[in-house]
């Protein structure tokens, strides 16, 4: 290699050509560091949102239209996740240095909070739903539109009649008995599914009971005083007996979330555990039976109804890095306080907020009554605010719970959950 010639690979012409290729024009995310403003002083606020069968892109575009009209200087750009969901896409965008200004659907945990704007001093923030519970280290980062009731069991009234079930079950023993009757009557007693549904439903169903045995479950798990999997073992064991008795479909893992919904609404199954947003789907569905709802059962001797699993509906956060802080703040304040915007969001995704009256379907009225009767609201699974478990807990839980369907013992599942947590602390 001791060649007399200059160098092995003269880089200058090459660098030159590369620069030529890449140099012209600005970056793709126009003006990351300064406010995105064109000559007319127009500001663009980018908002990453959750897209679901209820919340379509068209819905979001329509939702913010009145805001844009009232604020001619602000243009709101709705961004749909490109990953599996917002939880996947936001970290990608943060990594890419291309974070949006506002993000919907996620709640602050210790990792995310560092990236988010502190909203504690905003006078309107403390009056938003669950603001107190969602605080992290005493600060507000997330503000929401309403409350989602999580621990609801929807049921097919025709199926209950045919099976001879007169009163909705209040304890798990009654729940088991009801499932037995439904099975005898020819129904699939409990509609479950694959996807993220398996773990979610078990969390939803067990919130009221778990909240009474372990009132501060997330904090205790975090502090290491109890083990998450171990404390849920009785519930896992019960779930396992449902699989063995055919109370749930043993092939449920081959159904996606929307599959399960469709199956329940087609009248094949007796009960379906789901959050209050299901009422919005139910309202739109064609079906030949009536749907009722009751709060999730509890163990023998516990108070019924128990504390209701409660999560923030449409939670918003503003990214600290936003170059358009004022516009973003204005938008978020409008989204969570403007009566019309709030009502629209509540109705679109079947959520509730104390003091907000809207046209309820009969089923929504029942859900509102359940919410009113619940003694308290409890965070679910991964939780929020100070009561939050490491990022990804819900998916890890879901994967493990699905193990029940594929031959894992409840004990193995519980240990799997605890092993996952041990690896993250």
């Amino acid at each position: 290699m001791r060649s007399p010639r200059p160098s092995l690979f003269p880089l200058w012409p090459a660098l030159g050509s590369l620069l030529l290729l890449t140099g012209c024009g600005g970056g793709g995310f126009a003006g990351d560091s300064q406010a995105r403003q064109d000559e007319n002083g127009q500001v663009t606020v980018r908002m990453l949102v959750n897209i679901s069968p209820n919340l379509t892109q068209a819905y979001w575009d329509g939702l913010v239209k009145p805001f844009e009209q009232a604020n001619p200087g602000i243009d709101v750009k709705i961004e749909a996740p490109t990953g599996k969901g917002v939880a996947d896409t936001l970290p990608q965008q943060l990594a890419a240095g291309n974070a949006p200004d506002v993000v919907e659907t996620l709640m602050a945990d210790e990792t995310l909070a560092k990236q988010m704007l502190d909203l504690t001093d905003q006078p309107w923030a403390k009056d938003t739903p669950l603001a107190e519970q969602a605080k992290l280290g005493g600060r507000i980062y997330t503000v929401g539109v309403g409350v989602q009731a999580q621990s609801l069991v929807f049921y097919n009234k025709t199926a209950f009649d045919k099976a001879g079930i007169e009163l909705p079950p209040t304890t798990f023993d009654e729940f088991d008995a009801a499932m037995g009757k439904l099975r005898t009557a020819g129904y699939l007693p409990l509609q479950t599914g694959g996807d993220f549904l398996t773990g979610l439903q078990l969390l939803q169903l067990t919130n009221p009971s778990r909240a009474q045995t372990h009132p501060t479950w997330q904090q205790d798990v975090k502090a290491g005083t109890i083990k998450a999997g171990e404390s849920m073992l009785p519930h896992l064991e019960r779930y396992r007996t449902w699989i063995d008795k055919g109370y749930v479909d043993k092939n449920a893992l081959g159904m996606k979330y929307a599959d399960a919904e469709t199956a329940f609404l087609s009248g094949k199954s007796g009960m379906y555990v789901m959050g209050s947003w299901f009422t919005a789907t139910e309202a739109k569905a064609d079906k030949d039976f009536e749907v009722g709802v009751f709060p999730a059962p509890v163990d023998e001797g516990q108070q019924h109804p128990g504390p209701q699993g409660a999560t923030l509906a449409a939670p918003y956060m503003i990214l600290k890095s936003t170059p358009n802080k004022d516009a973003a703040l204005k938008l978020v304040q409008w989204l969570v306080t403007d009566p019309a915007a709030v009502k629209s969001q509540l109705a679109q995704d079947g959520n509730f907020r104390t003091g907000v009256e809207r046209d309820f379907t009969p089923l929504e009225k029942e859900v509102q009554a359940i919410l009113d009767a619940a003694p308290a609201g409890v965070p679910q699974g991964e939780g929020y605010g100070d009561a939050s478990l490491p990022k990804g807990f819900n998916s890890a839980w879901n994967t493990e719970v699905q193990g029940l369907y594929v031959g894992k013992s409840p004990k193995d599942v519980a240990e799997g959950v605890d092993r996952w947590l041990a690896g993250r602390s």
Binding site: L21, G27, G28, I51, S52, P53, T82, N98, D259
Partner: protein
């Protein structure tokens, strides 16, 4: 025997395409009741898929096509001359360079996409067409150079020497004399690269992201379909729209595509 077996296989290969096509024209009830039947055909689901605000098929095609053309042109312009030097020069440093490129053929693109995010970010190219094209081009380089170098080795060197005698410089010799003879190998690479760029999912998903407003056919399909996995009146028409033009193109061009694939591959 052979014929029967082949026909049976052909049916097996085509059934999914049949299911896709037929059900793109049916309502949810008809699909669920009889996924293979032809009852109750309607154009309505297809029309709805065409006007889906989340996935504008035409835009997706335009962007993907732009990527395909840009990557192919850039790949040929960069890889062919490099391969020429590597194939023609007896110097050791170029053999080392060949190995350096060859190592890249074993690196899975998916593995690279995470660190590439930071490289592109540093260069200010994240979420841009240019950044995406440059990265996709890079992924094509190792195999292209490998194939081209092998192909050039089969072209008699006397041709270049004759040109050199006539006073042509190295660059001109390559582009005017050698490059035109490389057509089969270039055709093969263009076909391979077209498929890989067209069908790529993870790279556009992460490099373009939601902020750029750019989507390819694959990322668009993902956005349009994944949340509605069982609304079959969304799934089937969207998938059909995503593949139909490409399939038609393939069927008309199959002779060139398949023979192009073989021509370069045998010599290289």
């Amino acid at each position: 025997m052979r014929k029967t077996f082949l026909w049976l296989s052909a049916v097996f290969m085509l059934v999914p395409l049949y299911v896709l096509t037929v059900n793109a024209f049916k309502g949810q009830q008809e699909i669920l009741a009889d996924p293979f039947g032809l009852a109750g055909l309607t154009l309505e689901p297809l029309a709805r898929a065409l006007t889906n605000p989340q996935f504008n098929v035409v835009k997706g095609y335009a962007i993907t096509l732009l990527f395909v053309v840009a990557v192919n042109v850039l790949s040929v312009v960069l890889a062919a001359p490099a391969a020429y030097v590597i194939a023609r020069s007896p110097k050791r440093r170029f053999r080392v360079l060949m190995l350096f490129f060859l190592a890249g053929t074993f690196i899975p693109g998916q593995v690279l996409v995470i660190p590439v995010v930071y490289v592109l970010k540093t260069l200010g190219l994240m979420g841009t067409i240019r950044g995406f094209v440059l990265f996709e081009t890079t992924l094509t380089l190792p195999f292209s150079i490998f194939l081209y170098a092998g192909y050039i080795a089969t072209i008699p060197a006397v041709l270049d020497q004759a040109a050199a005698v006539d006073g042509a410089g190295r660059l001109r010799t390559f582009w005017q004399i050698v490059f035109p003879l490389m057509r089969p190998a270039v055709a093969t690479m263009v076909i391979l690269n077209t498929f890989s760029v067209w069908n790529d999912f993870v790279n556009p998903q992460i490099i373009l992201g939601p902020g750029s407003g750019l989507y390819t056919v694959t990322t668009g399909v993902y956005a349009a379909v994944s949340q509605y996995a069982t609304d079959y009146t969304v799934v089937f028409p969207t998938l059909l729209l995503a593949i139909a033009p490409l399939l038609v193109f393939f069927v008309f061009m199959q002779r060139h595509i398949i023979s192009g694939l073989t021509a370069g591959a045998t010599k290289g």
